[in-house]
């Protein structure tokens, strides 16, 4: 579970703690064994975990991932709120949450750093480049949270023990009625390169910090980046 997901889960737990009568489920789409991650989510406070896995999922792009998530959500049933992280740690694409909202035809609020639930509505504060805005939206809705929204809890031993009794439901592509052709990637990675640099890479060495600092300052004056 990436830190971004933890922030989303933490926020969901806080909403549940405030409102009481809420069932909190987590959903994961993966090509690998995700049991450890799911156990962690359950220990933090989720009631139930769903996992959809298939070896072919390692080829999923953001469209395919959102499609499988949407199919699974439709299968799981009614919901009021979907919370997800702003992005994922591996690729930072940040597209899946919004694609999911589109597939489920949901209103969405992204870049959320403060969230509250008022009756049927969500009130969310968004952090934009040069402003912040507070948005009201009727549930059901999808919310994407930022890292600053909260500090995710670390489950205690007690919570970990309790979580071992909670249910993990495994779903397959066939359970969900997924159309295989919709899983084919819409983008293709042609090449992965090491980032290139064109820097001088000069090491400044010396016997003492003073000597080094002296050489560095002279070099920077030569470059014309300091002094008049």
């Amino acid at each position: 579970m990436s830190d971004f997901d933890k922030n989303a889960l933490e926020e969901a737990i806080r909403i549940k703690e405030k409102l009481g009568d809420v069932e909190l489920v987590t959903l994961t789409v993966t090509s690998e064994d995700a049991k450890a991650v799911l156990r962690e989510a359950l220990a933090m406070g989720a009631d139930k975990a769903y996992v959809v896995s298939d070896p072919s999922f390692n080829e999923l792009d953001t469209f395919g991932a959102a499609y499988v998530l949407a199919k699974a959500i439709q299968k799981i049933g009614d919901f009021s709120l979907i919370l997800c992280g702003e992005t994922s740690l591996d690729s930072f694409s940040g597209l899946v949450g919004s694609r999911l909202a589109e597939m489920l035809n949901l209103p969405q609020v992204s870049s959320v750093r403060k969230l509250s639930v008022e009756d049927e509505d969500i009130l969310a504060e968004r952090a934009l480049e040069d402003s912040s805005e507070t948005v009201r939206v009727k549930m059901p809705a999808l919310v994407m949270v930022t890292r600053e929204i909260n500090q995710p809890r670390i489950p205690s031993l007690m919570m970990i023990m309790k979580a071992s009794k909670k249910e993990i439901v495994s779903l397959t592509v066939d359970d969900l009625g997924v159309e295989r052709e919709k899983l084919s990637s819409k983008i293709e990675v042609m090449e992965v390169l090491a980032p290139k640099t064109e820097r001088k890479k000069i090491k400044i060495t010396g016997e003492t910090p003073q000597e080094i600092a002296d050489k560095l300052v002279k070099a920077l004056i030569q470059e014309g980046v300091i002094g008049r």
């Binding site: 899946v96 912040s132 983008i187 090449e191 000069i202 003073q210």
Partner: protein, 321 residues
């Protein structure tokens, strides 16, 4: 310009739209396509003229009171209708907090791919758009193409140089499109207080990373910044994890282009490097000789910042007097 092929540029931030027109122009020329900017808003005719000056052949202008400020669903509905009827070859969208969800939903509605946060864009021999983006936790650059059309990509601010404006002839196409209502309602909007000098404009930046042991030690950097008339910045962990700063320099934060960037105790993961690659001269000070920051620095000092910075302060005083 020939045929009906079009390359589109849209951003909810006008400055970014202007920046994107430079690269958009290059892509359109290679494809022998028309470069069109999409402008949504109310009473924005001046911006339309500006988009042409910065390189657009054509501006699709949708003027509607309902578009006076950005809201995802109304804007999405208009862009989708335009794209569905004009079928552009390429759509470039500014990767802002509003632009990213917009691009993702538009791509989904058009059942196409989207290459997010491209730091480089080109066209290959087969006329395909190639986007390069930082990936794999920041350790590599991936070259990606879209297998579906329109070929979509999002572009972060300051990835590309803003072109020089000039007097050009362009066409402004005013269209009436039905604007869908928003299910979200903005109940309050506050402009952020911006510091007097933006770090983007700083000529000298002294920046710290995880090598800084205590928040108070920032004073070491402040002293240097004062002598060099520069500003102090930091890498992401100091802002996001330690909360010592509210903003950071890097791919997800501010992208800077100072004359001099001094990285103190910054390891140099590629997300950070992506934010400083336009610096003229980069100096790295780090006690770990294996730190990747040395690979992207012009001058490297292997040493403890707590010893090097005070010495540097004295040396600067001596030489700059």
């Amino acid at each position: 310009m020939s045929g009906n092929m079009e390359v589109w540029v849209y951003s909810d931030r006008h400055e970014l739209a202007l920046e994107m027109l430079g690269k958009g122009r290059e892509i359109a020329d290679k494809l022998q396509a028309c470069l069109a900017a999409i402008l949504l808003g109310h009473d924005v005719d001046e911006k339309a003229d500006e988009l042409i000056k910065f390189g657009a052949d054509k501006v699709y202008l949708i003027d509607d009171p309902k578009l006076v400020s950005f809201q995802l669903e109304p804007y999405l509905s208009v862009l989708h209708k335009l794209a569905a009827s004009y079928k552009p070859e390429v759509i470039l969208i500014g990767s802002t907090r509003n632009g990213k969800p917009l691009a993702a939903r538009l791509a989904t509605r058009l059942e196409t791919g989207c290459i997010p946060d491209c730091i480089r864009l080109s066209v290959d021999e087969q006329g395909r758009l190639v986007g390069e983006r930082i990936t794999y936790g920041g350790n590599a650059v991936a070259k990606i193409i879209s297998k579906t059309k329109p070929q979509m990509a999002t572009i972060p601010a300051r990835a590309f140089e803003k072109p020089e404006p000039r007097e050009r002839i362009g066409q402004i196409v005013k269209l009436e499109v039905k604007v869908e209502a928003s299910r979200t309602e903005i109940v309050e909007k506050k402009l952020l207080e911006t510091s007097a000098v933006k770090i983007e404009d700083a000529e000298v930046i002294i920046s710290c990373g995880r090598g800084l042991e205590k928040k108070e030690d920032k004073a070491l950097l402040d002293e240097l910044a004062a002598i060099l008339c520069g500003q102090v910045g930091c890498s992401r962990p100091l802002a996001e994890d330690r909360k010592w700063f509210t903003e950071w320099i890097g791919l997800s934060g501010h992208k800077v282009k100072p004359k001099l960037y001094i990285a103190c105790g910054i390891s140099g993961v590629i997300q950070h490097v992506a934010g400083i690659r336009d610096a003229k001269v980069i100096v790295a000070i780090n006690k770990d000789s294996e730190a990747p920051i040395f690979e992207v620095a012009d001058y490297g000092v292997i040493g403890n910042l707590y010893e090097v910075l005070p010495a540097l302060k004295e040396a600067l005083k001596k030489h700059l007097q």
